[in-house]
């Protein structure tokens, strides 16, 4: 009950959406699939479910390519792009059509509709559904055949706070039942709450394949910013193994690997004046952004520049 990607590559014309991805998603835990927009997450999920064919490499689910399974919905339940529903068809008829392909009984259709909280709207045309209702319908479709592997692309998108809590609980339940749960998100904070394992991608490439705990540990390195008229000298004094010093402006430093106290003591011992010494906790979100900084597809202008434009 695993998803195994081996050298998975997908090109659309000149553009490489997924670039030589190799990773394994294991059962019994929630694995977060993390990356900025345009990193190749959705493409990878389309490759897993056989909607797209890889240019190179392979991805298998439970040991076989998706389309080689006699009952694919019972192997992998997937929530892909939110709208995979005909706007003119009711939620019930949409799920029924999927159920009929596999011989899934109508009672099961009613069951999943009830469970995702759509019982009151199931006979209405899905075109009138809100984004959140559409997500619930997509999740009902994913769980219809009681699959061993669940793949969800940005499941909390468009959900209200109650819905977000519901998804978090659902993901943990599914994993606790021994299923393989693979969930994409562009929000590190969301993954930190639900996932135990992380596959991080940027520009289609694998950036990290690690546990959330390990990621947090490596991200937890604090940064200290300081201002000093002798910044250059202080930089030399602080240099050492495991220490990173960067400078954004003359007389300003950002230091990692040395605590604020140690910096202050070093400066005092060498008579270097300090005008400012500020420790910063690096948040998970910042650590994620740092990891993927070079891999972000679409950069917004820096905040300062936005203000210039606005002014």
């Amino acid at each position: 009950m695993t998803i195994e990607a081996r050298g998975l590559t997908k090109r659309y014309g000149e553009k490489t959406a997924v670039d030589d991805l190799t990773f394994t998603v294991r059962p019994g835990t929630v694995t977060g699939f993390l990356g900025p927009n345009g990193a190749g997450k959705s493409t990878t999920m389309r490759l897993i479910t056989g909607l797209d064919a890889p240019t190179h490499g392979s991805v298998t689910v439970n040991g076989r390519p998706y389309d080689r399974h006699p009952a694919p919905l019972a192997e992998v339940g997937a929530l892909l792009e939110a709208r995979s529903v005909h706007t003119g068809r009711s939620a019930y008829k949409h799920l029924l059509a999927l159920a009929l392909t596999h011989g899934i009984p109508r009672a099961r259709v009613e069951e999943v509709i009830e469970a995702v909280g759509l019982a009151g709207a199931a006979r209405r045309r899905a075109g009138g559904f809100s984004l959140g209702m559409g997500q619930r319908l997509g999740i009902a479709a994913a769980l219809l055949a009681d699959p061993a592997v669940v793949v969800l692309d940005e499941p909390v998108n468009g959900l209200d706070p109650e819905g977000v809590l519901w998804i978090r609980g659902l993901l943990k339940d599914l994993a606790a039942q021994g299923r393989t749960v693979f969930v994409s998100s562009h929000l590190m904070s969301e993954m930190a709450l639900t996932a135990e394992h992380l596959v991080v991608v940027g520009r289609g490439r694998l950036l990290a394949d690690t546990t959330v705990a390990e990621f947090v540990r490596s991200a937890g390195r604090d940064e200290v910013s300081l201002r000093s008229p002798q910044a250059g000298r202080l930089r030399e004094l602080l240099a050492g193994p495991g220490v990173e010093v960067a400078s954004d402006a003359p007389g300003e430093l950002r230091v990692r690997g040395v605590g604020a106290e140690d910096i202050g003591l070093t400066a005092a011992a060498h008579g270097v004046p300090l005008f400012e010494l500020t420790p910063h906790r690096v948040s998970l979100e910042e650590a994620f952004m740092e990891l993927t900084r070079d891999a972000v597809e679409y950069h917004a202008p820096a905040p300062g520049r936005t203000e210039e434009i606005a002014a």
Partner: protein, 276 residues
Amino acid sequence: MSTPSLTAPGPGGTGTGARGGAGYRVTYPRVLRSEWSKLWSLRSTWYSLAAVVVLTAGIGLAVGATFTDGGGDGPQDPVEVTLLGLNFGLLILPVLGILTTAGEWSTGTVRATMAAVPRRLPVLWAKAAALGAVSFVLMLATALATFPLAQAFLADTPIAAGLGDPGVARALVTTAAGASLITVLGVAAGALLRSIPASIGAFVGVLMVLPNVAPLLPYEWVGDAVAYTPLAAMEPLAAAHPPPDLPTVGAALVSIAVWAAAALAAAALRLRRSDV
């Protein structure tokens, strides 16, 4: 909100997909049942089919009631006259075929459909079979009802005929068969082009406009070839006594079938080869 029933309590429902082994399996009959359900769960199907019946019967009756034997260049065939409204059906039915396939792409349903049936081709065959069968039955029933009603007005005209007269029953059946094949052609066009406007444009362009324009070319064979395009080939099929200058009924039926089969083959190839 609690989620107990989402994860299927009960024997085998331990989250290992064990229920998948217990009878869940994609088969051709199941895909056909699914597509059958999908066809009838959209209002557009009901509206389109109702329009076909109303227009075919209504125009048939109107033509019958107002027929005067002017001996002009109007149709002089006892079946063709009563089924003039068929021309609307031959536009509406293939458009409905286009909607059942291209509509999957325009709404995104195709992702859910192909995730459930990743081999894909059974979906195409099922859509073609379901709508092809519906079109055949509907056209046959409509023709069988319209013909005698329209003929009730034509008792004293040269084109009076009954269901038992030579060629009449055959014409009604081949009309339904031809309409069914043209509907399948629409199903295939939608799956091939994956866009409702592009498919309808191609259908109108290739089957309606081109056959009218092409004969203007100074080559005699072009005019002969045009008679074998699907809509033109409907003419001998809908006539009790096809004029000798038209393709034979057999040749017309085969040529429409070849068009439909070729379009289905092209659609199948694209479905297999390219991402959805």
